[in-house]
């Protein structure tokens, strides 16, 4: 049996299991709280696993292992930012959000503001962030099928994207939050299991001596000790000051973006109490932390055992490092059959990873369309639960279709920057509004609207005029390194990551909008403060 057919069989097994769980979840999904928040009845451990499944995207699994395999230490910088970010969510956001919100991020932002302008802004921001992230995952799915199965034709990629899109729509429309959560739990278990197994096999090859694994990786990379130090990819000496500032900018967006990602924030609503939200983030931190430590071994292991040359030949960005390592270490220890089985397993896990993340993104954005834009902005709150959920399901169809079409069109474009951009927008637009809402008494409608549009707008505008969109020149393969062809150049902003400028701007816009407006509602802040800290009046779990 070839690794392709085995991988497809394993993947179909995953699809079958998750569809079964989704249909089962649909029978228990009766009202809006079930659809949007899984009835708030998941346990802290379940939600912790789902947080891991929602957060650990193919970009972090395949991407970071690939960066470490090719550029060494610098991939680790990504992992650390992605992990430390969870402390912001744990200390400042998760519990307060669970106590004061209901279904979406905008519930917290609009709590003491004029609902229509704030929900409009929050809805636009939620959809923008989710679509950026979704698009990166969809294009990644197309690339993955080419990498793992050698199917490089446009038709094969398009077919994959359509398949992924249809599955994510089914998970969300049929299963709602309950279905999506189960997909994420199953994926988290598979991903942790598969990655841990390969890590143990790799470490075993080196007698569980990390130092000898590292020196072998450094030797094989051809870059010597520099491979184990920062500076081969981000902020290289050749890029000068701009490169180093870019490193800081990326670091800021990663560490501050997580607590502003709508698809992460809605996970806090799926547990009965704020205490469970805290515990689930604790579980999430444990799982995600161990996962990024594992990624370090996978990356250096791939450099040591597979070799940078072979990895680069397979994929210039290194995205196949983890699957290639699985095959190599499997065949070294168990023979050719072992290599085939492990490669197939990791390939199937990679697809499961993408599915779980895109389902979470589709749910977050369709919830916001239905609950924020339709129910509160268009219908001004005069809408039944059934109608709202129906609109959410229709929105999931539309967003899924848009993601499929954009994903197919974007196949040939270099969209790797979209994940970092989603984090930058979340950190610049959403996080300032959330933190001001929760902690600043004076904050008001104008401030919330200004920080969301100001942060979102400045992050997107700065990226449009950055080297990732135009003016970066051509790579060794003759292709443009920017989104646009090399002949187009309207770049003037020197950094690839806007966070260093746009995050302070988001906070500044929020401050200025607030102090320039006279609106001030002390009574609603009292309610929010009491509710967020004590849980008095917080939404309760449904008991059916």
């Amino acid at each position: 049996m070839s690794h392709e057919s085995l991988a497809i069989a394993l993947f179909l097994l995953f699809v079958g299991l998750t569809l079964f769980l989704t249909v089962r979840a649909s029978r228990q999904t009766k009202d809006a709280t079930d659809f949007y928040a899984g009835g708030r009845s998941f346990s802290a451990v379940q939600n912790g696993l789902a947080i891991g499944g929602d957060y650990m995207s193919a970009a972090s699994f395949l991407g970071i292992a690939g960066i470490i395999a090719l550029s060494g230490y610098d991939g680790f910088l990504y992992s650390i930012g992605f992990l430390v970010a969870w402390l912001v969510a744990l200390l400042l956001v998760a519990e307060l959000m669970r106590n004061s919100g209901k279904f979406t991020m905008a519930d917290v932002l609009a709590f003491r503001m004029s609902p229509r302008p704030v929900r409009t802004a929050a809805g636009i921001s939620t959809i923008t962030v989710s679509i950026f992230y979704l698009l990166a995952q969809m294009v990644g799915a197309g690339a993955l099928v080419a990498l793992l199965f050698g199917l490089t034709s446009e038709a094969a990629k398009a077919f994959t994207i359509v398949g992924v899109g249809i599955l994510m729509i089914v998970y969300v429309v049929v299963g709602g939050m309950k279905g999506t959560t189960w997909v994420q739990i199953v994926k988290a278990v598979l991903l942790m299991g598969g990655a841990t197994l390969i890590t143990l096999l790799v470490l075993g090859k080196y007698g569980f001596n990390l130092s000898s694994l590292l020196s072998e990786a450094a030797n094989q990379s051809g870059k010597g000790d520099a491979f184990l130090e920062p500076g081969l990819k981000y902020g290289t000496e050749a890029q000068g000051l701009a490169g180093k500032l870019d490193l800081i900018s990326l670091g800021l967006a990663l560490v501050l973006g997580t607590a502003g990602l709508p698809h992460i924030l809605i996970r806090f609503y799926t547990v009965p109490t704020a205490r469970d939200a805290r515990k689930s983030v604790l579980w999430g931190i444990g799982i995600i932390g161990v996962f990024y430590l594992i990624t370090l071994v996978l990356g250096f292991g791939a450099a040591a055992l597979v070799g940078s040359g072979t990895i680069r030949e397979s994929n210039a960005a290194g995205n196949t490092a983890a699957p290639l390592l699985a095959e190599k270490v499997g065949s070294l220890i168990f023979g050719d059959v072992g290599g085939t089985v492990l490669l197939a397993f990791i390939a199937a896990v990679a697809f499961a990873t993408i599915l779980a993340v895109v389902a979470g993104l589709t749910l977050a954005s369709s919830s916001s369309v239905a609950h924020d834009l339709y129910a509160h902005v268009i219908r001004k709150g005069d809408v039944t639960e059934q109608e709202e959920v129906r609109v959410a399901k229709i929105s999931a169809f539309v967003i899924g279709a848009v993601a499929i079409v954009l994903g197919i069109f974007a196949q040939k474009l270099n969209v790797a920057f979209l994940v970092a951009l989603a984090f930058a927008v979340a950190a610049s637009g959403n996080l300032p509004a959330i933190l001001y809402s929760l902690f600043w008494k004076r904050f008001n409608t104008a401030g919330a609207v200004a920080s969301i549009y100001g942060g979102l707008g400045s992050a997107v505008l700065l990226v449009i005029f950055s080297p990732v969109v135009s003016g970066k020149g051509v790579g060794p393969d003759g292709k443009s390194l920017s989104l646009f062809p090399a002949s187009v150049d309207f770049q003037w902003f020197p950094l690839e990551n806007p966070g260093l400028v746009s995050i302070p701007l988001g906070f500044l816009f929020g401050y200025l909008g607030t102090v320039l407006s006279k609106e001030y509602r002390a009574d609603k802040y009292t309610e929010m403060e009491v509710r967020s800290l004590t849980g008095v009046g917080a939404e309760e779990a449904t008991s059916h």
Partner: protein, 109 residues
């Protein structure tokens, strides 16, 4: 209008809780933990990123075999993240949850 009357009563409940000394204590304990700790881990993280950009000779120094300062510094970020998460959960369980629960029970009366 009955809705606005309900709203008024709702607000009165929150005003009443907010006026209690236990609430002030809860808020003080919460903020006294999360603000300084957030500032500390952000500075600690930014120090790591800045050193990765500007102090590469220091980060490249080997400590044990091939394990250098950069790797140890990075792993310490994991250790500090796990430790702060654990520390906060202990603190919240002992110092915050009992106060919040009392206030919730009093509000129900």
């Amino acid at each position: 209008m009955s809705t606005s009357q309900e709203e008024q009563e709702g607000i009165a409940v929150y005003e009443e809780i907010r006026a209690r000394p236990e609430f002030s204590e809860l808020r003080r304990r919460f903020r006294a933990f999360v603000f300084p700790v957030t500032a500390a881990f952000l500075v600690w993280y930014l120090l790591y990123v800045v050193l990765s950009g500007w102090a590469r000779d220091f980060m490249g120094q080997q400590v044990i075999g091939s394990i250098n300062v950069a790797l140890i510094f990075g792993l310490l970020q994991f250790v500090s993240t796990f430790a702060i998460a654990y520390w906060y959960s202990r603190y919240a369980g002992a110092k915050l949850d009992p106060l919040a629960q009392n206030l919730r029970e009093e509000a129900r009366r």
